[in-house]
């Protein structure tokens, strides 16, 4: 069962890498360092059809993650020193038959477990069973009104009611049972969803999760999803109004740093993946989700359906790919989509390597969700 040591700050727009400097120093010495966080999915499938979904661009050779595969994977993670596993990535993990077992077994091995979901298939009973084992559960919801929800998320309007009920149940269960789990909502904001910023912030205030985070939408290097990064600036006022709806126990936060970056990167080398890698719902191990598509085959490291993760981690191939990303042969500004999951970690390490930012042991109370960097 997840027991958080204390109630530090909830960092939603930043990195917690500073709290893992032992690993950063070992990385710098050229040692093999296990990922602190792994973001993965148990399937590539999804029961929703959101217009902004990056998973559309991540197709690769699908294989099935069954219980044997995932149990061995979790055991390997615990053995090599992975600290947190988030079930987010490129599929809706809650629709995998091994979802509940994965969370419970991972937590029993001492791994911090987290979930990102559309929140549809839960029932109150399932939530009661699940929540005690999680560090956080985040529901992806990009609209606060029924009809717009249906349009944006590609589902029937009545699914909105079920998702809202589930969010309310999550918050209630947490409070009634005094659980440590953080319940969050996430809005992936496309400029054309501007009308939903305030309705969603208000909906959150009513359903009482711990937070609502509003973030930019990622796009591929060719702009396949057509995200208009210039279109965010006109929404700053509304975003500030949404933040002002925060109260004690409900925080609305905007990922300002990424929104203001307008999809641009300050770095060319990519140092983050050794600390935070991603697995596709096909079992594919790749440095990051933006490189899942078959098109990026050169970066594909292995597949946990075929090879034990600990063997993949120790393989020369794993470190060859990680080294390539950190080498002059790679340029994230030219070769990657916009603002990946590892962006903040990359930025921090790049500044450190360029002598622009020192490594400093942090002081004070560790932040919440420390194993999800």
């Amino acid at each position: 069962m997840n027991q958080k040591a204390d109630k530090g700050q909830l960092i939603l727009d930043g990195t917690k890498l500073d709290w893992h400097l032992d690993r950063v120093r070992a990385w710098e010495r050229g040692e093999k360092v296990p990922p602190i966080t792994i973001d993965m999915a148990l399937t590539r499938a999804c029961n929703f059809a959101c217009g902004f979904c990056y998973a559309m661009l991540q197709e690769n050779d699908r294989q099935r993650i069954d219980q044997k595969v995932i149990y061995e994977f979790l055991e390997d993670c615990a053995e090599i020193g992975v600290k947190g596993i988030s079930l987010v990535s490129d599929g809706e993990s809650t629709i995998s038959p091994v979802f509940m077992d994965t969370v419970k077994y991972g937590a029993s091995l001492g791994l911090s477990m987290a979930v990102g979901t559309n929140g549809y298939v839960f029932t109150k009973r399932k939530l009661e069973e699940l929540l005690p084992h999680l560090t956080y559960l985040r529901v992806n919801i990009s609209a606060g009104e029924r009809d717009r929800f249906a349009e944006i998320m590609g589902v029937k309007p009545e699914w909105f009611d079920r998702v809202c009920q589930n969010i309310k149940d999550m918050a209630d269960i947490k409070r009634q049972r005094g659980l440590e789990v953080t319940i969050g909502l996430q809005m992936v904001l496309m400029p054309e969803y501007e009308d939903q910023i305030l309705p969603l912030a208000l909906l959150g205030k009513e359903l009482r999760p711990d937070y609502l985070i509003i973030k930019h939408c990622s796009d591929s290097e060719e702009g396949s999803l057509g995200v208009d990064y210039g279109g965010y600036e006109r929404m700053y006022g509304k975003l500030e109004q949404a933040e002002a709806l925060s109260d004690e126990g409900y925080s609305v936060q905007v990922k300002w740093s990424k929104i203001k970056d307008e999809g641009k990167r300050s770095y060319q080398r990519c140092y983050g993946p050794p600390f935070m890698i991603q697995l596709s719902g096909s079992g594919l191990v790749a440095p990051c989700g933006m490189l899942f598509n078959e098109k990026y085959k050169k970066f594909h490291i292995g597949n946990i359906v075929e090879t034990r993760f600990k063997d993949i981690y120790h393989s020369d191939r794993y470190w060859e790919v990680m080294n390539h990303l950190a080498s002059p042969h790679f340029n994230a500004q030219k070769m990657c989509g916009t603002l990946c999951l590892q962006h903040k970690v990359n930025e921090t390490l790049d500044q450190y390597r360029k002598g622009q930012r020192p490594l400093k042991d942090p002081t004070g109370t560790p932040p919440q969700h420390i194993n999800f960097i």
Partner: protein
Amino acid sequence: MDKITLNYEEMVAAYWDSLNTVLRGFNAQGEFLDLWVPDEDGVSSILNLVEAVQETGYNQMELDLTTETAQEIDLARLQEELVALGTVNLEPTATGYRLQVNGLTEGAAFHNLHAAYVAALRQAYQGPSQAGELSAQEGLELVHCTIKGVGLSVLVEPQRKIIQQAKWQGAEGPLEVGMMNACCQVILGLSLLEAADHGVLRLEDYLRDERLRRPAAGIVIPEKVEPAFGLPLELLRGLLSDFRKRTGYDQTINFFVKAYSNAWQALDGAGRKQRLQESLDQFLKDRKLNPKLFEVLSLDEKGRVTLASEVEFGRDQKAQLLLQLERHLDKHLEENLHLYVQELEDKNSKRRKTQENE
């Protein structure tokens, strides 16, 4: 002292003989033998011997090995280890092998260096010297930095801050001289900011022998795997800070991309595609791989190359080859070519429909 020729098996036999019969000063055969202790592991044993010969001051050594001894030794590992001491050559003979190690005197300077950098640094040391002074020229700005007695001067084109010429002063010994010669080569055509940010990464990549093991189990951070990279790192950062102080230049975000070579720029699309296919064919030929493994489908202005492959081969092998091929093209054809295979469409029909309707 110039050259010594030895027979390995005779040396080992003589050593044991002396050990059994003589108490002190038993290695009367040669002064260097005082330093040599054979090892159960053949590679370490020969390595010890070459080091002993080197320390005694010989520049060249020949060592004969019988076929039986050679079979028990990992010859590839032996050659890899010996690279740090000199130039290595292994030739078959009527009775086994003759191992030649040349340039031991100079090799002593590279002794403690990681083996992956020795060959290229030795070449840089022996190659054209980049030592010299630079003075300001019309339209070019002189930037200079000195660290621990070693100076680096560059002439920079003031608009894009591109380094046009580079010279060093005060480097001593083969290692430092080799490093500074290589550094002056690598930074040509880079912006000052790029040289400060990534010059040493580029230098490490340029000097590393890819056939040898990577110098770190994890990520290669140049100055951590090999302290000799520390000097160029400080110098390149020093150049930028000198320039900032004098001109007020305050750009920190680096968007530098090296321009295509003149030869590449002179080619049209078809010409570039042809050069690319030739380089690809050579890569496959060198590795004795099926020449039809990859075909160039497209190559765009941004250097994005899409390859197709009709041939069935292992999933992992394909991934590995693609990465190796990209590095090969980077080093031997053009720096900014990036390889992709054909994109796979989303198999989730519901999600795909949403995208198609938009």
